[in-house]
């Protein structure tokens, strides 16, 4: 054991030394991402593939940083002093905020053309979301959303599984509640989700709000205005009732919420599509003691709608650092490579942004993606505002007000009132 570790250490050291010396000959791309969970595994595999394919010319040096505020704080601060990476992943929801803080570098039409990136290869709305003020700041990689993971064995036992292997009779808040009540028994809870995580709660809340045609923020910068507030309270009340009735554990951390589902202690699990690989891999290694599936979030209210966001690639505006045109070309070529190879990324549960891949036969055959691909039509993206998006005041507010509301520490009405006031106060 010790010997093999030592050997490995020696080899690693040797490789590192070699790598440092040979780095001169090769171009390197410093890459930052925030991709944890199953996403991280996929992206790492793709980066390895890229590096292998370009073994003589380019090498991506990737660092994965803590998702959300820590990541975007680092990006913003380091771009301001010219210490940012060459490229990075970026949420399109945060693009207006990112551009307003000067952290992003514009990508010109010429540069896009030179790398062969065409707007027509992307869904029109998706492509437009990568622009601010008509200027391109990012290239979309995917569209992602939240889905309902389910334990087929538990659902079957409760008579909630249809012949097609999908859950049945979940639509309508009352039916959903009844299903949770039925599933919660014998040490199993109906639902698990990261109730201690503001971002997770925001995604569910935003879906429920949009299912009632509620607007979180109106075009004239009014938060939860008029009837929207009532709809928000209704959504929050519904979520809080899951905890109150004992169907959902409050204050559960993100990894624990997954562990609850994968260990068979929760029948449903609401989380991003990015955890699909976690389930796929566990099932493949026979470490999942049950059959699982994933479907679009049920329709609680008037019509289907699910929160969605989009991962993209962006180039930081590294102040005081002149990036040679050749380097930018290289970065954009790299971005194009990843989009063209995004079928592999789709293995991580996402819908590829690059239309030739998304509309290809290979993707259409991909399971379980095809089971929830309908959600693309009903996707509800975050408000387009400098106050919204990942690591924005809206996400902060979700952490500060949704968590206590769902866990029962704050009445839903009070939480929404405070959330509205807090955000409205930040409008300039």
């Amino acid at each position: 054991m010790i010997k093999s570790i030592l050997k490995k250490a020696l080899v690693t050291t040797a490789l590192l030394t070699v790598a440092t010396f040979s780095a001169q000959a090769k171009d390197t791309i410093v890459w930052w991402d925030f991709l944890g969970g199953g996403d991280g595994v996929r992206m790492k595999a793709m980066i390895d593939e890229f590096n292998k394919e370009h073994a003589d010319t380019v090498e991506i040096q990737a660092t994965t940083l803590d998702w959300g505020t820590p990541f975007y704080t680092k990006v913003q601060t380091s771009a301001a002093i010219g210490e940012g990476p060459d490229m990075m992943t970026y949420h399109l929801s945060r693009l207006p905020l990112g551009v307003s803080s000067g952290a992003l570098s514009e990508i010109t039409p010429e540069e896009l053309a030179a790398a062969g990136i065409k707007g027509t290869d992307y869904a029109a709305t998706n492509w437009k979301a990568a622009q601010v003020g008509g200027k391109q700041y990012a290239v979309p990689l995917d569209i992602h959303s939240i889905v309902l993971y389910y334990n087929k064995d538990l659902l079957k036992a409760a008579g909630l599984l249809g012949d097609d292997g999908k859950p049945k009779g979940l639509d309508g808040a009352a039916n959903w509640d009844a299903a949770l009540a039925k599933l919660t028994a014998n040490g199993v809870q109906g639902l698990s989700t990261a109730t201690a995580d503001g971002a997770t709660l925001w995604r569910i809340f935003y879906s429920l709000l949009n299912q009632q045609d509620g607007q979180f923020m109106t075009a004239d910068n009014k938060f939860l205005d008029g009837a929207n507030l009532d709809k928000a309270v209704k959504a929050t009340t519904e979520m809080a009732s899951w905890v109150k009735n004992g169907w959902l554990a409050p204050q559960t951390e993100y990894p624990a919420s997954i562990a609850l589902f994968t260990s068979g202690k929760a029948a449903f699990h609401i989380n991003g599509v990015w955890e699909v690989p976690t389930m796929v891999d566990l099932a493949k290694n026979k470490k999942l003691g049950f059959e699982w599936g994933a479907v679009q979030l049920p329709t609680f209210y008037d019509h289907p709608a699910t929160w969605a966001d989009s991962h993209s690639f962006a180039i930081p505006n590294n102040k005081g650092k002149e990036v040679p045109a050749a380097k930018r070309k290289l970065v954009l070529d790299t971005i194009a490579w990843f989009d063209k190879h995004s079928l592999e990324w789709a293995g991580g549960g996402h819908l590829p942004a690059f239309s030739p891949v998304r509309e290809g036969a290979d993707f259409k055959a991909l399971k379980p993606n095809s089971d929830y691909s309908t959600l693309a039509a009903t996707a509800a993206f975050d408000p387009v505002s400098v106050l919204a998006g990942v690591a924005s005041p809206v996400y902060d507010a979700a952490g500060n007000f949704l968590i206590p509301a769902v866990s029962g520490d704050l009445a839903p009405k009070d939480a929404m009132d405070q959330m509205r006031d807090d955000l409205q106060g930040q409008v300039q």
Binding site: D66, G68, T69, P70, T73, Q76, T77, A80, I81, S101, A196, D197, G198, A249, P250, Q251, T252, E253, Y254, A256, A259, L260, K319, A391, D396, G399, N400, I403, P404, S407, D409
Partner: protein, 293 residues
């Protein structure tokens, strides 16, 4: 004579030069710039316009500022006195032990102190993990079986982080107290026990007054340290309701680094300076009045 005096001066300047240089460049100059920055609306990096006292008004109007002040003071209260008292109690216990047992017991108390805060964070977030944490067995005994997300329950956050901080740092205090206890001559105790003084009386009349200078030292060190709290609070609150448990240094970080408002960050920094100076003066007065007695 004149020459040697000049030589002495020259030597002195050479000796103090490195310190003075560092002090001027990394303390005096940034502090002066900070004052200037606090009157502008500058981002973290870059220039801004003079805005007078706008930043100060904005800080004082911000609900989060009072939360930060209160949470910082609360944290200081929860750590300084407990870690001092606990340090003394443990030192009294450890001081009775001998040889190998003493080394072993002392190591148990001191080992956490040398760990980086991130390690402490990892170990304790695992101990208190809501689903699988071993501490939940203890918590269940009080709650009747319900697990508690300690770092996500606002009223429990500061006490838990304070508890962990005391666990982490008390070893240092223990050492200082043991040193103090060993300086007290055993003859005094022997004389006292011959007089039939009870153990408690011995502690109250001999140990406590003689250990007082060390107690003051420990409390001073702890006070300086805990007013500047950031690391543990940042790590344990990350991803949750960060606003409810924000402390002053974190508030500076939020303005300057997260919100990219250097002017506001500098303003809060200056206020933290002021708070620390107030505490120092209070502490100094307290010590002086003790000393005169």
């Amino acid at each position: 004579m004149l020459k040697s005096k000049r030589a002495e001066m020259l030597t002195a300047f050479v000796l103090i030069a490195p310190f003075v240089l560092v002090y001027a460049v990394l303390f005096v100059y940034p502090t002066a710039k900070m004052v200037q920055l606090s009157f502008t609306n500058a981002p973290l990096i870059g220039d801004g316009d003079f805005v007078g006292f706008d930043n100060y008004i904005r800080v004082f109007k911000d609900r989060l500022f009072s939360t930060a002040v209160w949470d910082t003071v609360y944290f200081v209260l929860l750590t300084v006195i407990p870690s001092t008292l606990l340090g003394l109690l443990i030192a009294l216990g450890v001081n009775r032990l001998k040889g190998f047992t003493q080394s072993l017991v002392l190591a148990a108390f001191f080992l956490p102190y040398i760990l980086p805060v991130s390690v402490v964070y990892r170990i304790w977030s695992w101990m208190f993990d809501k689903q699988f944490g071993i501490a939940q067995y203890v918590i269940s005994a009080f709650t009747g079986g319900t697990h508690v997300a300690v770092f996500r329950t606002i009223p429990l956050f500061m006490p838990s982080v304070a508890f962990i901080t005391v666990w982490w740092l008390v070893g240092f205090n223990v050492l200082l107290f043991i040193a103090g206890l060993r300086n007290i001559s055993t003859e005094i105790y022997e004389a006292a026990s011959l007089d039939g003084a009870s153990r408690f009386a011995q502690f109250r009349r001999i140990t406590w007054p003689l250990i007082w200078p060390v107690t003051v030292l420990v409390m001073t060190i702890q006070l300086i340290l805990q007013l500047k709290i950031f690391d543990q609070v940042y790590l344990f609150a990350n991803g949750g309701r960060t606003d409810a448990t924000i402390v002053l240094v974190q508030y500076i970080y939020k303005w300057a680094f997260q919100k990219n408002q250097g002017g506001m960050g500098a303003t809060v920094s200056l206020l933290l300076f002021a708070i620390i100076i107030i505490f120092s003066v209070l502490q100094y007065q307290l010590l002086r009045s003790r000393g005169e007695k």
